[in-house]
């Protein structure tokens, strides 16, 4: 199997190289058994430089390499086969593992520096090579139906950045996190799933609704969760850091991921249509939670691990409960509003109601959480509450001719509001709980201590508010695109900024450079503060063919 995998990978590389350097330099189209076969893709190398952070400041943090081939084979007018093959990995370990600064930067309490070797290629230890087939599915078209069967991505919702209704596919967050490709739709980080998707296009137009379609999706039991390594267990720079704990204490989390089984089947249903310019969807989903900041269920303390100097381990299982939600999206151009008689904003609304969403429960007051880890019988570690999530936003292309004579500035603002119904007591995002101050002590403050200088978890407020704003424009016939994305967590007063410049000269080379910055409470890992350590400048060089 391993040999086959590497033979296949080498074939991919050779194929990509020959496509990239063929004389016509256009995407390739072949005939296979008299039927058209299309193939194109890209090769991309990225490099990042730590900015204003303690561990990688001025040093290379990551070196992502990607080779991606996209192909389509049309068997006939009704059936086609589509696939994406991707080789993706972080070569930073290979490049720097002998260097002192690299070893120092990657060494953590929980992990040795060579853990980053596991990040070399994305299929390590997880999907046994199938990651190379990032997507592969068959499309079947009939007069009134479209079926898509295979490994695929299904994207719902209207929100950019924060994912509300986009709940079908989980995300791989080991290499990249919220700012990495959030402005590009999470194309690179979403984890494709084996799904059956059926879409029905009726001919009728009830109540004047045009373009009506019904979509039904089944995941027949091969569920997955978001991949975000807790406590830098794979050593990547995007993994969460080891939380602050008293001297000699550590936390161990066991991922209780799902096993493939028919009784784990997930279902999703969507209706889409256009009513008088209102593009709408009605959605329903029944599946599993995917978020890594999910539920930590205490399983009792254990003895420490001698290699990291701990004498006490607090053990948790990470559990994933059912996810049940209904929601809708709306999309409409508000032509009654016009800026200087030019363009109108496009309204985007997304709202969902999630039933029985699990939350880590802290008790009536903050101060109990540390001790729940010592008590496997503690039954109050989680609460199930209904949550409403709403996004209201607009896209508006605005002309500022004094800054750009030819092109508009695309502006997009979104306001997010999450509300937990019937919340009582304190809910927290585990596991960030203690401040740095606790590190110097042998024991954390004992209950009923409410000493904020020690205990300051990332709370989940009853009402959470976020805001995002994106602006970009083009110069020189769309060959230069500057863009700025701003994110704000209004509850935690945490911020993120991604500023980038894309250069689109010619048909093949697509360089991009930019910076990603975060501001927040890094001490207890609140919101964007969790990623403050990853402030970086980056450059991507892509050759597409």
């Amino acid at each position: 199997m391993k040999t086959c995998k590497y033979v296949f990978i080498r074939c991919l590389v050779i194929l990509a190289a020959s496509l990239a350097f063929q004389s016509s330099a256009l995407a390739a189209e072949f005939d296979i058994a008299g039927r058209p076969f299309f193939i194109n893709g890209f090769i991309m190398q990225e490099g990042t430089l730590g900015v204003d952070n303690s561990r990688f400041h001025g040093r290379n943090m990551t070196a992502y390499s990607t080779l991606q081939l996209e192909w389509e084979f049309k068997l006939n007018q009704h059936i086609s086969l589509y696939g994406i093959n991707r080789l993706f990995g972080d070569q930073a370990y290979n490049l720097h593992h002998n260097r002192h600064w690299y070893q120092r930067a990657n060494h953590t309490k929980a992990q040795e520096t060579n853990a980053r070797e596991r990040m070399e290629w994305e299929w390590n230890n997880y999907d046994e090579g199938w990651e190379v087939f990032r997507e592969i599915y068959v499309d079947i078209f009939t007069e009134s139906f479209q079926f898509r069967i295979g490994k695929q991505q299904v994207i719902w919702g209207e929100s950019d950045g924060l994912r509300l209704m986009d709940c079908i596919n989980p995300q791989d967050l080991r290499y990249e996190f919220n700012l990495r490709d959030s402005d590009e739709g999470y194309e690179y980080t979403r984890i494709p799933l084996w799904l059956i998707k059926a879409t029905y296009f009726p001919k009728w137009e009830p109540l004047g609704i045009r373009d009506l379609q019904f979509e039904f999706i089944i995941n027949p039991g091969k569920t997955k969760i978001n991949r975000l390594e807790l406590y830098e267990s794979e050593g990547g720079v995007w993994a969460t850091e080891t939380p602050n704990l008293p001297t000699g204490v550590r936390v161990s989390v066991d991922d209780k991921t799902h096993k493939t089984s028919l009784d784990k089947t997930e279902f999703a249903f969507r209706i889409m249509g256009d009513y008088d310019g209102w593009l709408f969807t009605l959605n329903a989903y029944y599946g599993y939670q995917q978020e890594n900041t999910g539920i930590l269920v205490p399983t009792g303390p254990g003895v420490g691990a001698p290699w990291d100097g701990a004498f006490l381990t607090l053990n948790f299982d990470k559990k994933f409960y059912h996810r049940k939600l209904v929601g809708f999206t709306l999309n409409k151009e508000l032509t009654a509003i016009r800026l200087r008689k030019t363009t109108s904003p496009v309204l985007r609304v997304e709202a969902l109601y999630e039933f029985d969403k699990p939350f880590c429960y802290e008790g009536e007051h903050v101060g109990d959480m540390a001790w729940t880890g010592l008590n496997p019988a503690y039954s109050q570690a989680r609460k199930f509450k209904d949550q409403i999530r709403i996004m209201i936003g607009y896209d508006w292309q605005i002309y500022l001719r004094f800054l750009n004579k030819r092109e508009s500035f695309f502006t997009s603002a979104q306001f997010f509001l999450f509300y937990i119904r019937g919340k009582n007591g304190e809910f927290v995002n585990a596991p960030f709980y203690f401040t740095n101050k606790v590190k110097g002590d042998l024991l954390p403050p004992l209950p009923p201590s409410r000493d904020r200088s020690y205990i300051d978890p990332w709370r989940i407020h009853q009402t959470q508010k976020y805001f995002s704003f994106l602006v970009n424009t083009y110069y020189d016939n769309k060959r230069i695109m500057p863009q700025v994305l701003f994110l704000c967590d209004l509850n935690e007063k945490a911020y993120g900024v991604k500023a980038k410049l894309n250069l689109n000269y010619g048909s093949h080379w697509r360089p991009e450079m930019g910076v990603m910055m975060w501001w927040g409470d890094h001490d207890t890992g609140k919101s964007f503060g969790l990623f403050q350590k990853n402030r970086q400048a980056y450059i991507k060089i892509k050759y597409q063919f």
Partner: protein, 465 residues
């Protein structure tokens, strides 16, 4: 018996007139002069074209249009004595253009002599001679549009008028103003010709983008479909598609090249209500989502080209939304790209990417469209509008400061037997930013199987990956 004989003779005569090609001696003078010239050149391409142009169906349709309009271009041009050296058979290239410069400029009045500068590298093309041209001069054709337009114009034009906010009122199909008296009526005529048919495919439509050094910097390819929902002239149902009376037309595209554009798909709907903005629903591959974009955003360039939605087919602006003052600057006989029976020839020549196509003298109206909004992308446009086909031939775009910004020409493909007219290669140069777009169309018109499935969310869903 005699009666039967007369009847048989009459039938025979009628049959011979309608079935067999007209003899050269029976050809109208506008056809004969072209055919004679083609024979005189000995050029097989011209001879073949002349045969088609002089076929019985062509002659019949040409006569009907001439009768309807009351004139033909050949007669109008014959009266014009400007620039006698520019004669059929002459090939003007960047190498000999100097010799004909003065006369050529006379044939491009009202600021269109950038066509001369384009070949000479002077004026607005100084240091920017990057779209060299070979002008092959041919005799003027009497041209006509589709038979469907002729019949629909006869049937429905009497109800048309210009209403509130200069909007067209009472239009059903065909040319609203076959005998236009004002510039505004000429603009409405061209607007309602839409794509010169009921539907269209361009598979692919290729944009070649040329930088200031003349090299082709990028190629972008899309598949384009277009469909009229009202004003239909030849593909049933006519004149409108039941249940879609509120829609003028829909267009859909899917980008196929390069990789970073590939998969972008969009459906644009233009509504009949003059006050209603277009709907623009897209599939964005990077997001893998179907999303509505602003239909009001018609002024941004399309992909990396020098065209915006306002410039689609040369002019696709809603004057009820972007108010204008239209002015007829005059009438003239000018030099225009002609009918090109063969695809345009592109080649690396004269230090650039040279095009070679046929040109002829045409009678045109010169129309100025001045925009009243100071925020509109252009200050004004000036167009040559053909007096026979009612199509825009060449166009100048001026910015709000009055500077010549962009220029446009294109040449035509034509089936004289039924009048189907479509365009080969819009050429658009941005003279301020020194950038050029040459769109290479592969158009098929009036296909019976281009259904609604190419123009709805289902289409976008089918293109989504």
């Amino acid at each position: 018996m005699r009666k039967i004989l007369y009847m048989a003779l009459f039938l025979l005569t009628w049959l011979s007139l309608s079935v067999f090609p007209a003899g050269a001696e029976d050809l109208p003078h506008w056809a004969k002069q072209w055919k004679d010239w083609a024979q005189s050149t000995g050029n097989q391409d011209y001879i073949e074209w002349a045969e088609k142009y002089c076929g019985p169906e062509s002659i019949q349709l040409g006569k009907e249009w001439e009768d309807y309009l009351g004139y033909n271009a050949v007669d109008i041009v014959a009266k014009d004595k400007t620039a006698p050296s520019i004669k059929p058979g002459l090939v003007i290239t960047p190498e000999n253009v100097k010799q004909y410069e003065k006369e050529l400029r006379q044939l491009f009045p009202y600021g269109f002599d950038w066509e001369v500068d384009r070949m000479m590298g002077t004026g607005v093309y100084a240091d920017y001679n990057y779209s060299p041209l070979e002008m092959v001069i041919v005799p003027t054709h009497h041209q006509w549009n589709d038979r469907g337009y002729l019949e629909a114009s006869k049937k429905y034009s009497s109800t048309c008028k210009v209403g509130e906010k200069d909007a067209l009122v009472g239009w059903t199909a065909g040319l609203p103003f076959p005998k236009p008296k004002t510039a505004l009526e000429m603009v409405h005529n061209y607007d309602r010709l839409t794509i010169m048919g009921d539907n269209l495919n361009s598979m692919p439509l290729q944009f070649g983008l040329y930088g200031r050094d003349g090299t082709r910097e990028r190629v972008e390819k899309v598949e384009l479909h277009w469909r009229n929902y009202v004003g239909r002239i030849k593909i049933p149902p006519m004149p409108e598609i039941p249940g879609a009376k509120d829609i003028y037309e829909k267009g859909s595209i899917v980008a196929t090249y390069p990789y970073d554009l590939k998969g972008f798909a969009a459906v644009r709907t233009r509504y009949a209500d003059p006050q209603k903005e277009d709907s623009f629903v897209t599939y964005i591959p990077s997001m893998r989502r179907i999303r509505r974009l602003a239909g009001t955003n018609t002024q941004d360039p399309l992909v990396g080209s020098d065209l915006s939605w306002e410039d689609w087919k040369g002019y696709w602006s809603k004057i009820s939304i972007h108010p204008v003052k239209c002015r007829l600057l005059g009438e003239a006989v000018v030099l225009c790209p002609s009918i090109n029976p063969k695809p345009i020839k592109y080649e690396e020549k004269y230090g650039g990417f040279s095009q070679r196509y046929l040109w002829e003298r045409r009678p045109v109206w010169i129309v100025e469209i001045a925009y009243e909004e100071p925020t509109y992308i252009y200050g004004k446009r000036v167009m040559y509008i053909d007096k026979e086909t009612f199509a825009m031939q060449q166009e100048n775009f001026y910015d709000q400061k009055g500077r010549l910004w962009k220029v446009w020409d294109w040449c035509w493909r034509w089936n004289p037997a039924n009048g189907e007219l479509d365009y080969w290669n819009p050429y658009v140069a941005d003279l301020i930013n020194r950038h050029t777009t040459i769109a290479n169309h592969h158009i098929m018109l009036n296909m019976p199987n281009l259904t609604e499935n190419y123009f709805n969310l289902r289409y976008l869903s089918s293109k989504a990956h």
